[in-house]
Protein backbone atom coordinates (compact mmCIF):
# COMPACT_ATOMS: atom_id res chain seq x y z
CA UNK A 1 0.00 0.00 0.00
CA UNK A 2 1.52 3.26 -1.06
CA UNK A 3 1.62 6.11 1.43
CA UNK A 4 -0.51 8.27 -0.83
CA UNK A 5 -3.45 5.98 -0.02
CA UNK A 6 -3.25 6.95 3.62
CA UNK A 7 -2.80 10.61 2.75
CA UNK A 8 -5.84 10.53 0.52
CA UNK A 9 -7.83 8.84 3.26
CA UNK A 10 -6.83 11.70 5.51
CA UNK A 11 -8.04 14.18 2.90
CA UNK A 12 -11.36 12.35 2.65
CA UNK A 13 -11.65 12.59 6.42
CA UNK A 14 -11.08 16.32 6.18
CA UNK A 15 -13.70 16.56 3.47
CA UNK A 16 -16.10 14.53 5.59
CA UNK A 17 -15.64 16.98 8.43
CA UNK A 18 -15.86 20.04 6.18
CA UNK A 19 -19.04 19.23 4.26
CA UNK A 20 -21.40 19.17 7.27
CA UNK A 21 -19.77 22.29 8.68
CA UNK A 22 -20.36 24.11 5.41
CA UNK A 23 -23.92 22.84 5.30
CA UNK A 24 -24.66 24.06 8.82
CA UNK A 25 -23.07 27.44 8.11
CA UNK A 26 -25.16 27.78 4.95
CA UNK A 27 -28.25 26.88 6.92
CA UNK A 28 -27.46 29.51 9.49
CA UNK A 29 -26.82 32.10 6.81
CA UNK A 30 -30.07 31.54 4.93
CA UNK A 31 -32.33 30.51 7.77
CA UNK A 32 -34.24 32.99 9.92
CA UNK A 33 -33.43 33.53 13.58
CA UNK A 34 -36.58 34.32 15.58
CA UNK A 35 -36.14 32.70 18.97
CA UNK A 36 -39.08 32.24 21.28
CA UNK A 37 -39.07 30.39 24.55
CA UNK A 38 -41.55 27.76 23.46
CA UNK A 39 -39.66 27.07 20.27
CA UNK A 40 -36.51 26.30 22.16
CA UNK A 41 -38.13 24.01 24.70
CA UNK A 42 -37.94 20.24 24.38
CA UNK A 43 -40.49 18.61 22.10
CA UNK A 44 -43.00 16.64 24.15
CA UNK A 45 -46.27 16.49 22.20
CA UNK A 46 -47.22 19.95 23.35
CA UNK A 47 -46.73 19.37 27.08
CA UNK A 48 -44.13 20.74 29.41
CA UNK A 49 -41.64 17.86 29.88
CA UNK A 50 -42.52 16.56 33.35
CA UNK A 51 -39.12 15.01 34.09
CA UNK A 52 -35.61 15.14 32.78
CA UNK A 53 -35.05 12.80 29.87
CA UNK A 54 -31.76 11.42 31.11
CA UNK A 55 -32.91 8.65 33.38
CA UNK A 56 -32.01 5.06 34.04
CA UNK A 57 -33.10 2.48 31.55
CA UNK A 58 -33.50 -1.26 31.75
CA UNK A 59 -30.51 -3.50 32.39
CA UNK A 60 -31.31 -5.50 29.27
CA UNK A 61 -29.49 -2.99 27.14
CA UNK A 62 -26.35 -3.51 29.16
CA UNK A 63 -26.62 -7.24 28.59
CA UNK A 64 -26.72 -6.57 24.88
CA UNK A 65 -23.65 -4.40 25.22
CA UNK A 66 -21.76 -7.19 27.01
CA UNK A 67 -22.77 -9.71 24.38
CA UNK A 68 -21.62 -7.31 21.71
CA UNK A 69 -18.21 -6.97 23.30
CA UNK A 70 -17.83 -10.75 23.49
CA UNK A 71 -18.87 -11.52 19.95
CA UNK A 72 -17.51 -8.50 18.18
CA UNK A 73 -14.09 -9.14 19.63
CA UNK A 74 -14.52 -12.70 18.39
CA UNK A 75 -15.21 -11.42 14.90
CA UNK A 76 -12.23 -9.09 15.08
CA UNK A 77 -10.02 -12.01 16.12
CA UNK A 78 -11.32 -14.12 13.27
CA UNK A 79 -10.45 -11.64 10.53
CA UNK A 80 -6.74 -12.51 10.41
CA UNK A 81 -7.67 -16.16 10.52
CA UNK A 82 -10.07 -15.79 7.60
CA UNK A 83 -7.48 -13.84 5.66
CA UNK A 84 -4.91 -16.61 6.01
CA UNK A 85 -7.32 -19.46 5.51
CA UNK A 86 -6.70 -19.85 1.79
CA UNK A 87 -2.96 -19.82 2.19
CA UNK A 88 -2.94 -22.27 5.06
CA UNK A 89 -3.19 -25.99 4.91
CA UNK A 90 -3.97 -28.68 7.35
CA UNK A 91 -6.78 -29.28 9.72
CA UNK A 92 -5.04 -27.79 12.73
CA UNK A 93 -5.66 -24.32 11.35
CA UNK A 94 -9.30 -25.16 10.87
CA UNK A 95 -9.48 -26.99 14.20
CA UNK A 96 -8.18 -24.06 16.19
CA UNK A 97 -10.95 -21.89 14.83
CA UNK A 98 -13.50 -24.60 15.56
CA UNK A 99 -12.30 -24.72 19.17
CA UNK A 100 -12.53 -20.95 19.44
CA UNK A 101 -15.97 -20.83 17.84
CA UNK A 102 -17.03 -23.84 19.88
CA UNK A 103 -16.26 -22.16 23.18
CA UNK A 104 -18.22 -19.09 22.19
CA UNK A 105 -20.95 -21.27 20.75
CA UNK A 106 -21.33 -23.05 24.08
CA UNK A 107 -21.53 -19.65 25.74
CA UNK A 108 -24.21 -18.53 23.32
CA UNK A 109 -26.09 -21.79 23.80
CA UNK A 110 -25.99 -21.29 27.56
CA UNK A 111 -27.15 -17.69 27.32
CA UNK A 112 -30.07 -18.64 25.11
CA UNK A 113 -31.07 -21.66 27.18
CA UNK A 114 -30.73 -19.71 30.38
CA UNK A 115 -33.28 -17.25 29.06
CA UNK A 116 -31.01 -14.24 29.32
CA UNK A 117 -32.18 -13.05 25.93
CA UNK A 118 -35.88 -13.15 26.74
CA UNK A 119 -37.12 -9.62 26.45
CA UNK A 120 -40.06 -9.46 28.83
Amino acid sequence: MEPSVLVSLLIVLGLAAAIPVVMVILGRAFGPKRPTEVKYSVYECGLEPPVDARRRFTVKFYEVAVLFVVFDVEVAFLFPWALLFKKSSGFLFFGEMIVFLGILGVGLFYVIKRGALEWE
Partner: protein, 512 residues
Protein backbone atom coordinates in the same frame (compact mmCIF):
# COMPACT_ATOMS: atom_id res chain seq x y z
CA UNK B 1 0.70 -24.31 17.94
CA UNK B 2 1.13 -27.93 17.02
CA UNK B 3 -0.38 -31.21 18.13
CA UNK B 4 2.60 -31.65 20.47
CA UNK B 5 1.46 -28.56 22.37
CA UNK B 6 -1.92 -30.00 23.09
CA UNK B 7 -0.36 -32.78 25.17
CA UNK B 8 0.90 -30.28 27.68
CA UNK B 9 -2.58 -28.85 28.01
CA UNK B 10 -4.05 -32.13 29.21
CA UNK B 11 -4.17 -31.18 32.92
CA UNK B 12 -5.94 -27.93 32.02
CA UNK B 13 -8.54 -29.66 29.89
CA UNK B 14 -10.31 -31.29 32.85
CA UNK B 15 -11.76 -28.19 34.50
CA UNK B 16 -12.25 -26.55 31.13
CA UNK B 17 -14.29 -29.34 29.55
CA UNK B 18 -16.20 -29.90 32.77
CA UNK B 19 -17.15 -26.22 32.89
CA UNK B 20 -18.38 -26.28 29.30
CA UNK B 21 -20.29 -29.49 29.97
CA UNK B 22 -21.99 -27.94 32.99
CA UNK B 23 -22.92 -24.90 30.96
CA UNK B 24 -24.53 -27.10 28.34
CA UNK B 25 -26.25 -29.46 30.77
CA UNK B 26 -27.18 -26.95 33.45
CA UNK B 27 -28.16 -23.97 31.36
CA UNK B 28 -31.90 -23.96 31.53
CA UNK B 29 -34.57 -21.59 32.60
CA UNK B 30 -35.94 -23.59 35.51
CA UNK B 31 -33.38 -23.10 38.24
CA UNK B 32 -32.95 -26.00 40.54
CA UNK B 33 -30.32 -28.30 41.96
CA UNK B 34 -29.08 -30.88 39.54
CA UNK B 35 -27.05 -33.65 41.21
CA UNK B 36 -25.20 -34.29 37.99
CA UNK B 37 -23.46 -30.92 37.98
CA UNK B 38 -21.20 -31.27 41.06
CA UNK B 39 -20.34 -34.74 39.80
CA UNK B 40 -19.26 -33.22 36.49
CA UNK B 41 -17.17 -30.66 38.34
CA UNK B 42 -15.55 -33.41 40.40
CA UNK B 43 -14.89 -35.36 37.22
CA UNK B 44 -13.11 -32.30 35.85
CA UNK B 45 -10.86 -32.06 38.86
CA UNK B 46 -10.45 -35.82 38.83
CA UNK B 47 -9.23 -35.61 35.23
CA UNK B 48 -6.53 -33.21 36.33
CA UNK B 49 -5.54 -35.38 39.28
CA UNK B 50 -5.32 -38.44 37.06
CA UNK B 51 -3.39 -36.42 34.50
CA UNK B 52 -0.92 -35.29 37.12
CA UNK B 53 -0.59 -38.87 38.32
CA UNK B 54 0.09 -40.14 34.80
CA UNK B 55 2.57 -37.42 33.91
CA UNK B 56 4.53 -37.56 37.17
CA UNK B 57 7.51 -37.78 37.35
CA UNK B 58 7.90 -35.46 34.42
CA UNK B 59 11.05 -35.72 32.36
CA UNK B 60 11.91 -32.20 31.25
CA UNK B 61 9.06 -29.88 30.42
CA UNK B 62 6.49 -29.30 27.68
CA UNK B 63 5.82 -25.86 26.29
CA UNK B 64 2.55 -24.79 24.79
CA UNK B 65 1.31 -21.70 22.97
CA UNK B 66 4.74 -20.68 21.74
CA UNK B 67 6.21 -20.96 25.20
CA UNK B 68 3.47 -19.02 26.94
CA UNK B 69 2.54 -21.97 29.10
CA UNK B 70 4.99 -24.45 30.48
CA UNK B 71 3.99 -27.78 31.88
CA UNK B 72 6.80 -28.74 34.22
CA UNK B 73 7.07 -30.11 37.73
CA UNK B 74 5.95 -26.87 39.31
CA UNK B 75 2.99 -26.68 36.95
CA UNK B 76 2.02 -30.22 37.89
CA UNK B 77 2.26 -29.48 41.61
CA UNK B 78 0.11 -26.37 41.15
CA UNK B 79 -2.42 -28.39 39.15
CA UNK B 80 -2.41 -31.03 41.89
CA UNK B 81 -2.90 -28.60 44.77
CA UNK B 82 -5.46 -26.46 42.96
CA UNK B 83 -7.55 -29.39 41.85
CA UNK B 84 -7.44 -30.86 45.36
CA UNK B 85 -8.66 -27.52 46.69
CA UNK B 86 -11.24 -27.18 43.94
CA UNK B 87 -12.58 -30.67 44.50
CA UNK B 88 -12.82 -30.01 48.24
CA UNK B 89 -14.59 -26.71 47.55
CA UNK B 90 -17.05 -28.43 45.22
CA UNK B 91 -17.82 -31.14 47.77
CA UNK B 92 -18.36 -28.58 50.53
CA UNK B 93 -20.50 -26.40 48.30
CA UNK B 94 -23.05 -29.11 47.55
CA UNK B 95 -24.25 -29.17 51.18
CA UNK B 96 -23.60 -25.51 51.79
CA UNK B 97 -25.53 -24.25 48.79
CA UNK B 98 -28.37 -26.65 49.41
CA UNK B 99 -28.83 -25.19 52.86
CA UNK B 100 -28.65 -21.67 51.48
CA UNK B 101 -31.04 -22.43 48.65
CA UNK B 102 -28.60 -21.25 45.98
CA UNK B 103 -27.54 -24.55 44.44
CA UNK B 104 -27.13 -23.22 40.90
CA UNK B 105 -25.07 -24.56 38.01
CA UNK B 106 -23.13 -21.33 37.60
CA UNK B 107 -21.42 -21.86 40.93
CA UNK B 108 -19.61 -24.97 39.79
CA UNK B 109 -18.75 -23.41 36.45
CA UNK B 110 -17.14 -20.47 38.21
CA UNK B 111 -15.23 -22.71 40.62
CA UNK B 112 -13.89 -24.64 37.64
CA UNK B 113 -12.93 -21.51 35.76
CA UNK B 114 -11.19 -19.98 38.75
CA UNK B 115 -9.27 -23.23 39.22
CA UNK B 116 -8.37 -23.14 35.53
CA UNK B 117 -7.09 -19.60 35.95
CA UNK B 118 -4.98 -20.66 38.92
CA UNK B 119 -3.43 -23.50 36.96
CA UNK B 120 -2.66 -21.21 34.03
CA UNK B 121 -1.05 -18.78 36.47
CA UNK B 122 1.12 -21.52 37.89
CA UNK B 123 2.16 -22.68 34.42
CA UNK B 124 2.74 -19.31 32.80
CA UNK B 125 6.16 -18.26 31.62
CA UNK B 126 5.33 -14.86 30.22
CA UNK B 127 3.47 -11.88 31.50
CA UNK B 128 0.59 -12.23 29.09
CA UNK B 129 -0.37 -15.75 30.03
CA UNK B 130 0.18 -14.82 33.66
CA UNK B 131 -2.28 -11.97 33.29
CA UNK B 132 -4.70 -14.24 31.46
CA UNK B 133 -4.64 -16.74 34.30
CA UNK B 134 -4.86 -14.03 36.93
CA UNK B 135 -7.90 -12.47 35.32
CA UNK B 136 -9.67 -15.77 34.67
CA UNK B 137 -9.16 -16.66 38.30
CA UNK B 138 -10.09 -13.23 39.68
CA UNK B 139 -13.17 -12.59 37.57
CA UNK B 140 -14.62 -15.94 38.55
CA UNK B 141 -13.82 -15.32 42.22
CA UNK B 142 -15.39 -11.85 42.18
CA UNK B 143 -18.67 -13.42 41.18
CA UNK B 144 -18.31 -16.36 43.56
CA UNK B 145 -17.81 -14.00 46.50
CA UNK B 146 -21.16 -12.42 45.83
CA UNK B 147 -22.94 -15.67 45.05
CA UNK B 148 -25.25 -15.42 48.09
CA UNK B 149 -26.67 -12.30 46.59
CA UNK B 150 -29.52 -11.99 49.10
CA UNK B 151 -27.03 -11.48 51.91
CA UNK B 152 -25.60 -8.02 52.28
CA UNK B 153 -22.21 -9.19 53.41
CA UNK B 154 -21.74 -11.47 50.47
CA UNK B 155 -22.54 -8.66 48.07
CA UNK B 156 -20.28 -6.31 49.99
CA UNK B 157 -17.51 -8.86 49.78
CA UNK B 158 -17.94 -9.17 46.04
CA UNK B 159 -17.99 -5.43 45.40
CA UNK B 160 -14.98 -4.82 47.62
CA UNK B 161 -13.02 -7.60 46.02
CA UNK B 162 -13.96 -6.47 42.55
CA UNK B 163 -13.04 -2.84 43.06
CA UNK B 164 -9.77 -3.45 44.85
CA UNK B 165 -8.96 -6.45 42.66
CA UNK B 166 -9.39 -4.50 39.46
CA UNK B 167 -7.10 -1.86 40.92
CA UNK B 168 -4.53 -4.57 41.57
CA UNK B 169 -4.94 -5.84 38.02
CA UNK B 170 -4.32 -2.31 36.85
CA UNK B 171 -1.10 -2.17 38.83
CA UNK B 172 -0.15 -5.49 37.36
CA UNK B 173 -0.78 -4.35 33.81
CA UNK B 174 1.10 -1.14 34.38
CA UNK B 175 4.07 -3.09 35.68
CA UNK B 176 3.85 -5.39 32.67
CA UNK B 177 3.94 -2.40 30.38
CA UNK B 178 6.99 -0.95 32.08
CA UNK B 179 8.78 -4.28 32.00
CA UNK B 180 7.99 -4.63 28.33
CA UNK B 181 9.48 -1.23 27.85
CA UNK B 182 12.56 -2.20 29.83
CA UNK B 183 13.18 -5.67 28.44
CA UNK B 184 11.45 -5.56 25.06
CA UNK B 185 9.91 -8.90 25.80
CA UNK B 186 7.02 -10.46 27.64
CA UNK B 187 9.05 -13.50 28.66
CA UNK B 188 10.17 -13.96 32.25
CA UNK B 189 13.48 -15.29 30.98
CA UNK B 190 14.51 -12.00 29.45
CA UNK B 191 14.15 -10.24 32.76
CA UNK B 192 17.38 -11.36 34.42
CA UNK B 193 19.64 -10.31 31.58
CA UNK B 194 17.97 -6.95 31.08
CA UNK B 195 18.42 -6.08 34.75
CA UNK B 196 22.10 -5.51 34.12
CA UNK B 197 21.42 -2.93 31.45
CA UNK B 198 21.81 0.44 33.11
CA UNK B 199 19.52 2.15 30.66
CA UNK B 200 16.51 -0.02 31.22
CA UNK B 201 17.11 -0.51 34.93
CA UNK B 202 14.80 2.25 36.18
CA UNK B 203 11.95 0.90 34.07
CA UNK B 204 12.53 -2.59 35.34
CA UNK B 205 12.77 -1.54 38.97
CA UNK B 206 9.52 0.39 38.80
CA UNK B 207 7.88 -2.35 36.75
CA UNK B 208 8.87 -5.07 39.20
CA UNK B 209 7.59 -2.82 41.97
CA UNK B 210 4.17 -2.58 40.36
CA UNK B 211 4.08 -6.31 39.67
CA UNK B 212 5.09 -7.03 43.22
CA UNK B 213 2.24 -4.87 44.44
CA UNK B 214 -0.15 -6.86 42.27
CA UNK B 215 1.16 -10.16 43.61
CA UNK B 216 1.14 -8.99 47.20
CA UNK B 217 -2.43 -7.86 46.76
CA UNK B 218 -3.49 -11.27 45.51
CA UNK B 219 -1.82 -13.18 48.34
CA UNK B 220 -3.07 -10.62 50.85
CA UNK B 221 0.28 -9.47 52.19
CA UNK B 222 0.54 -6.27 54.18
CA UNK B 223 0.31 -3.39 53.41
CA UNK B 224 -2.09 -4.51 50.66
CA UNK B 225 -4.22 -6.73 52.87
CA UNK B 226 -6.99 -4.31 53.79
CA UNK B 227 -9.55 -5.87 51.49
CA UNK B 228 -8.97 -9.39 52.67
CA UNK B 229 -10.86 -9.76 55.99
CA UNK B 230 -14.12 -8.32 54.71
CA UNK B 231 -13.96 -10.26 51.49
CA UNK B 232 -13.15 -13.55 53.18
CA UNK B 233 -15.78 -13.06 55.83
CA UNK B 234 -18.58 -12.22 53.42
CA UNK B 235 -17.84 -14.83 50.78
CA UNK B 236 -19.54 -18.24 50.92
CA UNK B 237 -17.47 -20.33 53.34
CA UNK B 238 -16.27 -23.01 50.87
CA UNK B 239 -15.18 -20.22 48.54
CA UNK B 240 -13.28 -18.53 51.35
CA UNK B 241 -11.38 -21.75 51.90
CA UNK B 242 -10.65 -22.10 48.19
CA UNK B 243 -9.61 -18.46 47.87
CA UNK B 244 -7.29 -18.63 50.84
CA UNK B 245 -5.49 -21.67 49.48
CA UNK B 246 -5.81 -21.75 45.71
CA UNK B 247 -4.91 -18.14 45.09
CA UNK B 248 -1.86 -18.50 47.31
CA UNK B 249 -0.75 -21.63 45.48
CA UNK B 250 -1.06 -19.96 42.08
CA UNK B 251 0.49 -16.66 43.10
CA UNK B 252 3.43 -18.21 44.94
CA UNK B 253 4.15 -20.54 42.04
CA UNK B 254 4.23 -17.57 39.69
CA UNK B 255 6.43 -15.62 42.10
CA UNK B 256 8.86 -18.52 42.32
CA UNK B 257 9.13 -18.55 38.54
CA UNK B 258 9.74 -14.81 38.39
CA UNK B 259 12.22 -14.85 41.26
CA UNK B 260 14.19 -17.64 39.62
CA UNK B 261 15.08 -14.99 37.05
CA UNK B 262 15.52 -12.04 39.36
CA UNK B 263 17.63 -13.88 41.95
CA UNK B 264 20.30 -14.59 39.35
CA UNK B 265 21.98 -11.53 40.69
CA UNK B 266 23.59 -11.82 44.09
CA UNK B 267 22.49 -8.54 45.57
CA UNK B 268 18.93 -7.69 44.78
CA UNK B 269 17.14 -4.96 46.70
CA UNK B 270 14.01 -7.03 46.27
CA UNK B 271 15.14 -9.30 49.11
CA UNK B 272 15.18 -6.40 51.54
CA UNK B 273 11.76 -5.25 50.42
CA UNK B 274 10.38 -8.75 50.84
CA UNK B 275 12.08 -9.02 54.24
CA UNK B 276 10.11 -6.08 55.54
CA UNK B 277 6.92 -7.20 53.86
CA UNK B 278 7.22 -10.63 55.46
CA UNK B 279 7.69 -9.07 58.88
CA UNK B 280 4.87 -6.54 58.59
CA UNK B 281 2.51 -9.12 57.12
CA UNK B 282 3.12 -11.57 59.97
CA UNK B 283 2.66 -8.93 62.64
CA UNK B 284 -0.44 -7.38 61.08
CA UNK B 285 -2.07 -10.75 60.50
CA UNK B 286 -1.37 -12.14 63.94
CA UNK B 287 -2.12 -9.04 65.98
CA UNK B 288 -5.35 -8.33 64.16
CA UNK B 289 -6.43 -11.96 64.45
CA UNK B 290 -6.11 -11.67 68.24
CA UNK B 291 -8.93 -9.16 68.39
CA UNK B 292 -11.49 -11.07 66.34
CA UNK B 293 -14.71 -12.46 67.71
CA UNK B 294 -15.67 -14.49 64.66
CA UNK B 295 -13.77 -17.66 63.87
CA UNK B 296 -14.16 -17.10 60.12
CA UNK B 297 -12.73 -13.60 60.39
CA UNK B 298 -9.94 -14.89 62.59
CA UNK B 299 -9.07 -17.42 59.89
CA UNK B 300 -9.08 -14.59 57.36
CA UNK B 301 -6.53 -12.64 59.36
CA UNK B 302 -4.54 -15.79 60.01
CA UNK B 303 -4.39 -16.26 56.27
CA UNK B 304 -2.56 -12.94 56.13
CA UNK B 305 -0.15 -14.25 58.75
CA UNK B 306 0.44 -17.41 56.75
CA UNK B 307 1.19 -15.29 53.68
CA UNK B 308 3.83 -13.63 55.86
CA UNK B 309 5.43 -16.95 56.84
CA UNK B 310 5.50 -17.99 53.21
CA UNK B 311 7.14 -14.70 52.26
CA UNK B 312 9.99 -15.52 54.66
CA UNK B 313 10.82 -18.45 52.44
CA UNK B 314 10.70 -16.16 49.40
CA UNK B 315 13.25 -13.91 51.07
CA UNK B 316 15.75 -16.66 51.83
CA UNK B 317 15.39 -18.67 48.61
CA UNK B 318 18.75 -19.31 47.04
CA UNK B 319 20.01 -21.57 44.34
CA UNK B 320 22.85 -22.15 41.98
CA UNK B 321 22.64 -20.38 38.67
CA UNK B 322 22.00 -23.08 36.14
CA UNK B 323 23.67 -23.36 32.77
CA UNK B 324 20.78 -21.58 31.05
CA UNK B 325 21.15 -18.57 33.33
CA UNK B 326 18.13 -19.17 35.53
CA UNK B 327 18.36 -20.17 39.14
CA UNK B 328 17.92 -23.83 39.85
CA UNK B 329 15.80 -23.91 42.98
CA UNK B 330 15.70 -27.68 43.27
CA UNK B 331 18.51 -27.54 45.82
CA UNK B 332 16.84 -24.80 47.80
CA UNK B 333 15.20 -25.90 51.00
CA UNK B 334 13.21 -22.67 51.16
CA UNK B 335 11.60 -23.15 47.75
CA UNK B 336 10.61 -26.68 48.66
CA UNK B 337 9.34 -25.39 51.99
CA UNK B 338 6.96 -23.02 50.22
CA UNK B 339 5.35 -25.83 48.27
CA UNK B 340 5.17 -28.09 51.30
CA UNK B 341 3.74 -25.29 53.42
CA UNK B 342 1.10 -24.66 50.79
CA UNK B 343 0.15 -28.33 50.84
CA UNK B 344 -0.09 -28.34 54.64
CA UNK B 345 -2.04 -25.09 54.64
CA UNK B 346 -4.36 -26.42 51.96
CA UNK B 347 -5.42 -29.53 53.85
CA UNK B 348 -5.76 -27.84 57.26
CA UNK B 349 -7.53 -24.80 55.88
CA UNK B 350 -9.99 -26.66 53.67
CA UNK B 351 -10.78 -28.85 56.66
CA UNK B 352 -11.30 -25.91 59.00
CA UNK B 353 -13.51 -24.11 56.51
CA UNK B 354 -15.34 -27.39 55.94
CA UNK B 355 -16.26 -27.53 59.62
CA UNK B 356 -17.22 -23.86 59.57
CA UNK B 357 -19.39 -24.27 56.49
CA UNK B 358 -21.24 -26.99 58.36
CA UNK B 359 -21.67 -24.83 61.48
CA UNK B 360 -22.70 -21.69 59.63
CA UNK B 361 -26.32 -20.55 59.95
CA UNK B 362 -28.40 -18.41 57.63
CA UNK B 363 -26.98 -14.95 57.18
CA UNK B 364 -23.46 -16.00 58.11
CA UNK B 365 -24.34 -16.38 61.78
CA UNK B 366 -23.08 -19.07 64.12
CA UNK B 367 -19.39 -18.54 63.55
CA UNK B 368 -18.51 -16.54 66.66
CA UNK B 369 -16.20 -18.11 69.24
CA UNK B 370 -19.14 -18.39 71.67
CA UNK B 371 -21.05 -20.51 69.21
CA UNK B 372 -18.39 -23.17 69.51
CA UNK B 373 -18.82 -23.39 73.29
CA UNK B 374 -18.96 -26.95 74.46
CA UNK B 375 -19.22 -28.26 70.96
CA UNK B 376 -16.40 -30.67 71.56
CA UNK B 377 -18.63 -32.71 73.81
CA UNK B 378 -21.73 -32.51 71.70
CA UNK B 379 -20.13 -33.36 68.36
CA UNK B 380 -17.12 -35.33 69.43
CA UNK B 381 -15.74 -35.94 65.98
CA UNK B 382 -16.24 -32.37 64.76
CA UNK B 383 -14.57 -31.06 67.88
CA UNK B 384 -11.63 -33.39 67.39
CA UNK B 385 -11.02 -32.53 63.76
CA UNK B 386 -11.48 -28.79 64.29
CA UNK B 387 -8.89 -28.91 67.09
CA UNK B 388 -6.49 -30.79 64.87
CA UNK B 389 -6.94 -28.24 62.07
CA UNK B 390 -6.43 -25.36 64.49
CA UNK B 391 -3.32 -26.99 65.89
CA UNK B 392 -1.98 -27.59 62.42
CA UNK B 393 -2.55 -23.98 61.45
CA UNK B 394 -0.82 -22.97 64.67
CA UNK B 395 2.07 -25.29 63.90
CA UNK B 396 1.97 -27.78 66.75
CA UNK B 397 4.26 -30.80 66.25
CA UNK B 398 2.55 -33.85 64.89
CA UNK B 399 0.60 -31.95 62.29
CA UNK B 400 1.40 -30.99 58.71
CA UNK B 401 1.46 -27.32 59.66
CA UNK B 402 4.37 -27.98 61.98
CA UNK B 403 6.43 -29.60 59.26
CA UNK B 404 5.71 -26.66 56.97
CA UNK B 405 6.65 -24.08 59.56
CA UNK B 406 9.70 -26.06 60.56
CA UNK B 407 10.88 -26.15 56.97
CA UNK B 408 10.29 -22.44 56.44
CA UNK B 409 11.99 -21.27 59.61
CA UNK B 410 14.66 -23.94 59.26
CA UNK B 411 15.50 -22.79 55.77
CA UNK B 412 15.74 -19.20 56.97
CA UNK B 413 18.16 -20.18 59.73
CA UNK B 414 20.01 -22.40 57.31
CA UNK B 415 20.42 -19.53 54.87
CA UNK B 416 21.57 -17.15 57.58
CA UNK B 417 23.92 -19.28 59.68
CA UNK B 418 27.53 -18.98 58.68
CA UNK B 419 27.11 -15.66 56.96
CA UNK B 420 27.94 -12.26 58.33
CA UNK B 421 24.43 -11.12 57.60
CA UNK B 422 22.21 -11.90 60.56
CA UNK B 423 19.00 -10.64 59.01
CA UNK B 424 17.78 -14.06 57.86
CA UNK B 425 18.18 -15.58 61.30
CA UNK B 426 16.52 -12.54 62.80
CA UNK B 427 13.59 -12.98 60.43
CA UNK B 428 13.27 -16.63 61.44
CA UNK B 429 13.28 -15.68 65.12
CA UNK B 430 10.65 -13.01 64.52
CA UNK B 431 8.59 -15.56 62.63
CA UNK B 432 8.75 -18.00 65.52
CA UNK B 433 7.71 -15.27 67.96
CA UNK B 434 4.82 -14.48 65.66
CA UNK B 435 3.62 -18.04 65.58
CA UNK B 436 3.62 -17.95 69.38
CA UNK B 437 1.21 -15.05 69.13
CA UNK B 438 -0.78 -17.09 66.66
CA UNK B 439 -0.96 -19.96 69.11
CA UNK B 440 -3.14 -17.79 71.37
CA UNK B 441 -6.01 -17.35 69.01
CA UNK B 442 -5.89 -20.88 67.66
CA UNK B 443 -5.99 -22.25 71.18
CA UNK B 444 -9.01 -20.07 71.92
CA UNK B 445 -10.88 -22.33 69.53
CA UNK B 446 -9.87 -25.36 71.59
CA UNK B 447 -10.80 -23.59 74.82
CA UNK B 448 -14.26 -22.85 73.48
CA UNK B 449 -14.63 -26.41 72.26
CA UNK B 450 -13.61 -28.17 75.42
CA UNK B 451 -13.38 -25.78 78.39
CA UNK B 452 -16.72 -23.97 78.08
CA UNK B 453 -20.10 -25.42 78.98
CA UNK B 454 -22.56 -26.02 76.19
CA UNK B 455 -24.88 -23.04 76.00
CA UNK B 456 -28.44 -23.85 77.06
CA UNK B 457 -29.98 -22.54 73.89
CA UNK B 458 -27.20 -24.01 71.86
CA UNK B 459 -27.97 -23.05 68.34
CA UNK B 460 -26.25 -26.14 67.08
CA UNK B 461 -29.02 -28.27 68.53
CA UNK B 462 -31.03 -29.95 65.88
CA UNK B 463 -28.43 -29.17 63.27
CA UNK B 464 -28.64 -31.46 60.26
CA UNK B 465 -26.29 -34.34 59.90
CA UNK B 466 -23.02 -33.62 58.25
CA UNK B 467 -23.59 -34.09 54.54
CA UNK B 468 -21.64 -36.67 52.59
CA UNK B 469 -19.53 -34.15 50.70
CA UNK B 470 -18.64 -32.12 53.75
CA UNK B 471 -17.89 -35.28 55.72
CA UNK B 472 -15.63 -36.56 52.98
CA UNK B 473 -13.66 -33.31 52.88
CA UNK B 474 -13.33 -33.13 56.65
CA UNK B 475 -12.17 -36.73 56.98
CA UNK B 476 -9.76 -36.43 54.09
CA UNK B 477 -8.29 -33.20 55.44
CA UNK B 478 -8.02 -34.73 58.89
CA UNK B 479 -6.12 -37.71 57.56
CA UNK B 480 -3.97 -35.48 55.37
CA UNK B 481 -3.11 -33.12 58.21
CA UNK B 482 -1.89 -35.97 60.36
CA UNK B 483 -0.38 -37.93 57.48
CA UNK B 484 1.91 -35.18 56.34
CA UNK B 485 2.54 -34.21 59.97
CA UNK B 486 3.54 -37.46 61.57
CA UNK B 487 5.34 -38.48 58.49
CA UNK B 488 3.54 -41.62 57.56
CA UNK B 489 6.81 -42.82 56.18
CA UNK B 490 7.36 -45.35 58.87
CA UNK B 491 4.27 -47.16 57.63
CA UNK B 492 6.04 -47.16 54.27
CA UNK B 493 2.79 -46.36 52.50
CA UNK B 494 4.32 -44.03 50.00
CA UNK B 495 3.21 -40.46 49.91
CA UNK B 496 4.42 -39.21 53.29
CA UNK B 497 6.65 -36.29 54.19
CA UNK B 498 9.76 -37.56 52.48
CA UNK B 499 8.13 -38.48 49.17
CA UNK B 500 6.24 -35.21 49.21
CA UNK B 501 9.49 -33.34 49.72
CA UNK B 502 11.08 -35.27 46.90
CA UNK B 503 8.14 -34.34 44.71
CA UNK B 504 8.55 -30.67 45.57
CA UNK B 505 12.25 -30.94 44.79
CA UNK B 506 11.51 -32.51 41.45
CA UNK B 507 8.96 -29.82 40.80
CA UNK B 508 11.58 -27.13 41.00
CA UNK B 509 14.12 -28.82 38.76
CA UNK B 510 12.85 -27.67 35.37
CA UNK B 511 11.73 -24.10 35.91
CA UNK B 512 13.30 -23.04 32.65
Amino acid sequence: MTWEDTKSLMPLLGPFLAALAILVVGGRKERGPNPLLPLLALAGFGWTLVGVGCLWPLEGAHDAFAGGLRLDGLGLVVALLVSLGGAACTLLSVDYLKRRGRNLPEFYVLVLFSALGMMVMGMSTNWLSLLLGLETMSLALYVLCGFLRDETRSVESSIKYFLTGSFASGLFLFGMGLLYGGTGSFEFRDLGGAMLDAQSQPLIVVGVGFLLAGFLFKIGAAPLHMWLPDVYEGAPTPITGFMATGVKVAAFAAVIRVLSEIYQHEHVGLRDVLWWIALITMIVGNVAALAQTSVKRMLAYSSIAHAGYLTIALVVMRGAVGENGAIDFSGSLAARAILYYLLAYLVANMGAFGVLSYLEKQGGKGLAYEDLAGLGFKHRFLGLVLSVFALSLAGIPGTAGFVGKFLVFGSAVDAGVGTADSSFVLLAVLGILNSLVGLYYYLRVLIQLYAKPLAEDASTRGAPLVGMGTGLVIVASFIGTLWWGFGADFLNLGFGVEPAMRMMQGALATLR
